[in-house]
Amino acid sequence: MAPSSTISARPTSGARAFLQRLASGDEIARLVTAAFAGCILLATVGVIWELWVNSTLARHKFGLSLLTSSDWDAVAGQFGALPFIYGTVVTSLVALLIAVPVGLGAAIFLAELAPAKISSTFTFFIELLAAVPSVIYGVLAIFTLVPLMRDYVEPALKKTLGFLPIFSGTILGVGYLTAGVILALMVLPFIISISREALLEVPTEQREAALALGCTRWESTWQVVVPYARLGIFGSIFLGLARALGETMCVTMVIGNDPSIHTSLFAPGYTIAAILANEFSEATGDLYLHSLVALGLILFLLTIVINAMARLLIIATTRRGSGHP
């Protein structure tokens, strides 16, 4: 009997081999699941493609001045993205300025001080906070935060720090500051939960060594543990930032919708996400529409960059040694 290829050596390449593998069902499974995975590729590439193609008119007409011009005039056909980039950056910065100290403080408490039961219960609640939809934050902001800012917080700031240009001007209740505060609430759970995990990863020997050298509990935490976990903490901050940049609904409801640049935090402004939400369905004319899509493209690129930095930082700390990409 001639040796059959199926008994001795299977061909490892070529069409024959492929057909044989196909017969076993595994290859089909592989191809089918790969096709589904390819859908993700298709979708992502599709998003980038559509954003690029649908913003052509604006990019060709304005070029780089799209990024530097602060003139947004639908009637005159002039579109500059600067007020929206400014608003997006300012509100996100305000959000981080509030959320990072509070978030880091809470993470330190949960990782270092709290007994395990309290730590896990609190973390459970904080992670639930991350699941609250943005529109609900927005509703609360309109009815509770805006009056609070308008009647108490902003007047108090104006009275005490009113000489600073960022705390001057008419008090409306809506504006950069209020949007920043509500964003801070949205970003807080992310900073807390990721920083906490980064802090938990720090080996106990570090703490013990510091305490053995005579540090107080705080000094050991602040000067040894936190720096050790700084990559993960920075990662959480970047992740929070990426979240804040793209946040739409609650910001739209409290930003005041003014496409200009103001120095005062009490003033109304606009973010990229907010103007897209407000004006996309009614942009008359192709140039207007393309300019809005161009704004979407700018936001997309911004979030990609920040997200990538966040992932790198987080992976560097929390996946140390596991070899998982």
């Binding site: 992502t44 880091l104 409801m253």
Partner: protein
């Protein structure tokens, strides 16, 4: 004790208590939100809310029945599109993935995950609404599925990869083919985590508003089909909260309470399932 040491000890106590304050503040935000919604909304969550259609502006007595049904319809479309793709992609990444293609797909999934939901809405608009010629529940469902897919894919991959390799090897040793192993051994072993990931993903997209703004738009009546504009709960809440009518405000609170209750119970249930799974596996 020297003055300096006393100062250091005092500082330590102050700073550490401050961190406690921060933690309490953070947790209290959740309860404040819940509290406000319950306080303002519970009286309005009545039979009318769940069964009536919205009334013209200025009239009282309407409800958000069509929005709840509409949301269910749109989310269902997103589930039908997004869960299979996400699940299968996760299976590929965990079980079949080679080096290059898999890492590209993972990177793209992370990218897609990070796209702001309003930009997803723009994409769905240009790819579904424009060719179709009108707004539709389908467009809304497609937009939401684009958010669901990367979440599902990554969590499926994550939980499949926690299944011990010994399980796979055992099945293969018994003569099962690879796909049979995956289908009958690996996936069932990780089903809790996978289901949890899916449930959390669905809860997340149920609350999304931005992608629906110019895809499914809105509708004062019951949805007339997957290819027609459809009301959804988050959009209704958004429009009612900022309108001047007190009756609409009342309904916005009720809607917010219903939405939040749904999202929170789903999250809590999912975590409970997951925690039980973990303890079972360990034991």
């Amino acid at each position: 004790m020297t003055l300096r040491n006393r100062w250091r000890k005092a500082l330590s106590m102050v700073m550490l208590s401050l961190t406690g304050v921060c933690a309490v503040l953070a947790v209290s935000v959740l309860f404040l939100i819940l509290g406000y919604l319950v306080y303002n909304g519970w009286r309005s969550v009545d039979w009318n809310f769940f069964t009536k259609l919205p009334k013209p502006p200025g009239e009282t007595g309407g409800g958000m029945a069509n929005a709840i049904a509409g949301s269910a319809q749109i989310v269902l479309i997103a589930i039908v599109i997004g869960l299979p793709i996400g699940f299968m992609a996760g299976v590929y990444l965990s079980e079949f993935g080679g080096k290059i293609f898999a890492s590209i797909v993972r990177y793209m999934a992370d990218l897609l995950n990070g796209v702001p939901s309003i930009v997803i809405g723009i994409f769905a608009w240009s790819v579904v609404v424009v060719p179709m010629g009108h707004f539709s529940a389908l467009a809304g469902g497609v937009a939401l599925s684009l958010i669901l897919i990367p979440i599902t894919a990554r969590s499926t991959e994550q939980f499949l990869s926690t299944v011990p390799q010994t399980l796979r090897e055992g099945a293969l040793a018994l003569g099962a083919s690879k796909w049979k192993t995956i289908a009958t051994v690996v996936v069932p072993a990780a089903y809790r985590g996978i289901a949890t990931g899916m449930i959390l993903g669905v809860a997340r997209i149920s609350g999304e508003t931005a992608p629906l703004l110019f895809t499914s738009l809105n509708n004062q009546f019951w949805s007339a089909g997957w290819n027609q504009p459809t009301a959804s709960l988050p959009i209704m809440i958004y429009s009612h909260a900022q309108a001047p009518y007190d009756d609409w405000h009342r309904q916005a609170w009720a809607g917010g309470l219903v939405l939040l209750a749904m999202v929170l119970t789903t999250n809590i249930a999912a975590r409970w399932i997951l925690s039980r799974g973990i303890s079972v596996q360990k034991g």
